[in-house]
């Protein structure tokens, strides 16, 4: 059964008419044409599809689109403001915290939500917060460095 679902996506109101059970991931990628959010497993085990809902990182492949009704969703496309990269994006680029880049949007958004909860994370906070976002290329050490760097940068800006 189709439902009409409105929510805020990257700061803009959007409305989709589709089956409410469908995963948010595919509604974003197909109906809404935002392909920055990646499919990696469809089971919530890899984190490539991570988006931020409210202030919380969620795995959009297992979130029914119905559950974002009237909520705010942030995807990788909405992170840079006015062409200005977010400090996390800058730091990931600066530290080469990626190789193939396929897990990167999910990594960045998971880190974004981590920093909302813990603006001054310890190394252990970062490791445990990022633990279940998988990277196959092995960019992990740089991802940690990038998050540390971004946290410091954001603290300076506050």
């Amino acid at each position: 059964m189709n439902e009409t679902i409105s929510f805020t996506l990257n700061g803009k109101e959007v409305t989709v008419t589709t089956e409410g059970e469908r995963p948010l991931l595919w509604v974003l990628r197909t109906d809404l044409g935002l392909t920055g959010t990646k499919y990696g497993c469809g089971e919530g085990t890899c984190g490539a599809c991570t988006v931020v809902m409210g202030n919380r990182a969620v795995r959009s492949c297992i979130v029914p689109v119905r559950s974002v009704r009237n909520r705010e969703v942030l995807t990788i496309e909405g992170l840079a403001r006015n062409g200005q990269l977010h400090p996390l994006q800058e730091a990931f680029a600066k530290h080469d915290a990626l190789q193939c880049g396929f897990c990167t949007p999910g990594m960045i958004l998971n880190a974004y939500s981590l920093l909302l909860r813990k603006p001054e994370p310890t190394y252990e906070d970062i490791v445990s917060g990022m633990e279940y976002n998988l990277c196959r290329c092995g960019a992990h050490t740089r991802i940690i460095r990038a998050i540390e760097d971004a946290a410091a940068e954001m603290k300076g800006a506050r």
């Binding site: 469908r22 680029a93 998988l134 092995g138």
Partner: protein, 714 residues
């Protein structure tokens, strides 16, 4: 300038074998300077098939001064988009941001065999440099005429040629190429820059694709949208070897917006949305005939060894009988390594779009030209009517040499006459993967009173010999590979294929474990034992540099309890040594890797940052096959179809990683994408032994296996 040395060749060849004709290829490029060049290894491969190309990459300096490099290589994450641009910019003396890379498009780039085996930097790089040098020479020649200054008096910086004696006399590459059309075919390499002349080579450069990848703009195959496109999901058979005996599609046929297609064993559901196509698969009723398998992932090793065919001796020196006589002690052990999956985060994906008599395929593949060749042959289409593009690829590791998903989607698109996108599910990815083969390595070896090895009899079952060639100096040695069974049957029941440094991970695990077993029996420190038995100076330098960095000291007793291990390896011309420190929880059998030091000799390093990234990637990924990753299967059913049971390395596993590069700027460049991974099994097994006194003969070293080894220790 090398005018006289340069031969501008006339080329007679069969245009039909090319994706696009040479003429078509070069038309539409506009003016500027075009340098065509051929890489040696590809030339040979082509020659064998009677399709010798006269060039397989080219670059152009446009009338706007921008440089475009067209190359058939694929950006899988290993960084060629950056390192090739860096290489070319240096040789041409232009800024890095004036270079555009066009890669992996069969209609725009000339033939390339594929992106694998750490060949991009060592083989493609030097020819690209030669082409850059040639283009620079042409431009300097033009500038000399324009400025009326002898060539020797000219220098170039950032794409501007100037008179060294009077810098205001200058002309840009753009001004020089304006209105010109110069085509050069590079047959003899011109002089390239040497150590001391580089501007960019050897400098750490950030990835050029980073901005697109951190903003979500980077396009992968799954991000391709073609008007009218539908999504397909394939019905995965329950096992390898299964045949479809009946199929009832009626439940899906009745659903609006869905379509079922079948082509032999290939069954797919189509819908405009991939998630809905996948849901609908559940409504298909399929029955299969599943044959009994001869072995499973546990019995495979004995099966291979008990039913071994004749084998092929690949190395043989001295006399094994004399070796046995000289030996103070003979040590015989067998080492096992299971099936592993490539598990890239991007699953195999492809889009097929037929338009009239033309076909365009986008595919996440390491072999766009191989796919092009197969499609052309399967469909009986003229080569120039088929175009294959590999956009950004989300990891390959050898697994995307296989392009089965593209073959499937083309079959489907041909039937439904619409553009179709196929994204393998994670379970599909695990199931259809070409796994790294399980293999057993039997080693019988001996050492004399002085700790010198005198016997090495090395037998491999189940895989090939990359990394089996011995770099220790043993006078009496033999290496035998068994890749067939006694009755001539193929060994593996599931598909197998290259996995990052194929064979070498298993060969190095076996060899380096065994070296430590011998060192312990001989009562000699593992580093000293290796130095006693390796003469090669380069290798010794790497060993010593790594040991220094790690701070290796001989232990008072063995095992020392420190949890220190080391392992050597040799891959794609690179000597590599790893040192590691681990902690083992004897109660749970779990292993924490605390520190890894990697020493390697990569020759001239183009991008130290890229090398560091690749090396860290090797070490991190290598922990997976050493500790957890293993594909279970029985009766052709794959037991691990998700990350729930197939465990990849995660953040909490990270050791402190340090590296040492031997300075060798005057040596040719080597690829860094594979060597460091080959020692991970061996170095961790040796460190676990040093920590616990338990020798683990099978990787991955799961907690279960570690506990068994602890229970069995002497």
């Amino acid at each position: 300038m090398n005018d006289d040395k340069l031969q501008v060749a006339e080329h007679g060849r069969d245009e039909s074998l090319y994706p696009v004709s040479r003429r078509e290829f070069l038309q539409g490029l506009g003016g500027g300077i075009i340098i065509l060049f051929a890489t040696g290894d590809l030339g040979q491969g082509q020659q064998r098939r009677g399709e010798r190309p006269d060039f397989n990459a080219y670059l152009r300096i446009g009338e706007d001064g921008r440089v475009t490099c067209f190359a058939g290589k694929v950006e899988l994450g290993q960084g060629p988009m950056t390192s090739l641009a860096q290489t070319l910019a240096d040789e041409l003396d232009v800024s890095l941001d004036s270079v555009d890379m066009v890669m992996a498009d069969t209609a725009r780039c000339p033939f390339d065999a594929g992106t694998w085996g750490s060949t991009t930097t060592p083989r493609f790089g030097p020819i690209l440099r030669a082409a850059g040098a040639e283009a620079r020479a042409v431009l300097i020649g033009l500038a000399a005429v324009r400025l009326k200054v002898p060539k020797e008096q000219l220098a170039v910086k950032d794409g501007v040629v100037f008179d060294k004696t009077q810098q205001s006399r200058r002309v840009t590459y753009a001004q020089l190429t304006q209105g010109k059309r110069i085509e050069r075919h590079l047959e003899q390499a011109p002089e390239i820059k040497t150590v001391g002349q580089y501007n960019l080579i050897g400098k750490p450069i950030n990835r050029l694709d980073a901005r697109d990848k951190v903003t979500g703009k980077a396009k992968y195959t799954g991000d391709i949208r073609v008007p009218g496109m539908v999504s397909a999901k394939v019905l995965r058979p329950p096992s390898h070897g299964a045949t479809l005996t009946s199929l009832d599609t009626s439940a899906v046929d009745e659903m609006e917006g869905y379509q079922v297609v079948r082509d032999g064993e290939l069954v797919a559901v189509l819908h405009k949305n991939p998630d809905q196509a996948e849901e609908a698969l559940k409504n298909l009723k399929a029955e299969y005939d599943i044959p009994k398998a001869r072995f499973d992932d546990k019995t495979v090793f004995d099966y291979f060894m008990d039913n071994a065919g004749e084998g092929r001796v690949t190395d043989n020196a001295g006399n094994l009988g004399s070796g046995r006589k000289l030996a103070k002690e003979v040590v015989e052990e067998t080492y096992l390594n299971g099936y592993v999956s490539h598990a890239p985060i991007e699953t195999h994906t492809a889009v097929a779009h037929f338009e009239g008599d033309k076909l365009t395929v986008w595919a996440s593949t390491q072999t766009p030209f191989g796919l092009h060749r197969q499609l052309t042959r399967d469909l009986g289409m003229p080569a120039e009517n088929v175009r294959v593009i590999a956009p950004f690829v989300g990891g390959g590791f050898g697994g995307k040499i296989n392009f089965e998903q593209a073959i499937q989607v083309v079959k489907i698109a041909k039937i439904v006459k619409k553009p179709v996108q196929l994204i393998w599910s994670r379970a599909d990815e695990f199931f259809y993967d070409t796994f790294r083969p399980a293999a057993a390595v039997k080693i019988k070896s001996g050492f004399d009173n002085s700790g010198k090895m005198v016997l090495w009899d090395y037998t491999v079952h189940g895989m090939g010999g990359r990394g089996a060639k011995l770099f220790y100096d043993v006078p009496n040695n033999r290496t035998t590979l068994h890749r067939e069974l006694r009755n001539g049957e193929r060994q593996h029941l599931v598909k197998t294929g290259p996995w990052r440094a194929p064979d070498n991970n298993t060969n190095s695990f076996a060899r380096e474990s065994h070296i430590d077993v011998m060192a312990a029996r001989a009562g000699i420190d593992p580093l000293e034992f290796r130095l006693k038995n390796i003469q090669d100076e380069k290798f010794r330098a790497v060993l010593k540099a790594g040991a220094d960095k790690f701070g290796w000291t001989p232990a008072k007793k063995s095992p020392s309890g420190r949890g220190y291990g080391m392992a050597c390896g040799f891959d794609v011309g690179v000597p590599v040594v790893l040192f590691a420190e681990v902690a083992v929880d004897e109660r749970t059998g779990s292993i924490q890797v605390k520190r890894v030091v990697c020493a390697q000799d990569l020759g001239l390093v183009i991008n130290p940052e890229g090398v560091a990234l690749q090396t860290e990637g090797c070490i991190t990924m290598g922990m997976g096959y050493a500790l957890t990753e293993e594909i279970h299967h029985s009766d052709g059913r794959v037991g691990d179809l998700s990350f729930g049971t197939y465990e990849l390395p995660r953040f909490s596993w990270l050791p402190k990683i340090e590296m040492v590069l031997i300075e060798a700027d005057d040596e040719p460049s080597k690829g860094a994408g594979e060597p460091a991974i080959i020692c991970m099994g061996g170095v961790l097994a040796n460190a676990v032994y040093d920590a616990t006194g338990a020798r683990v003969f099978q990787i991955p070293m799961t907690p279960e296996r570690v506990k068994q080894a602890i229970a069995a220790r002497a």
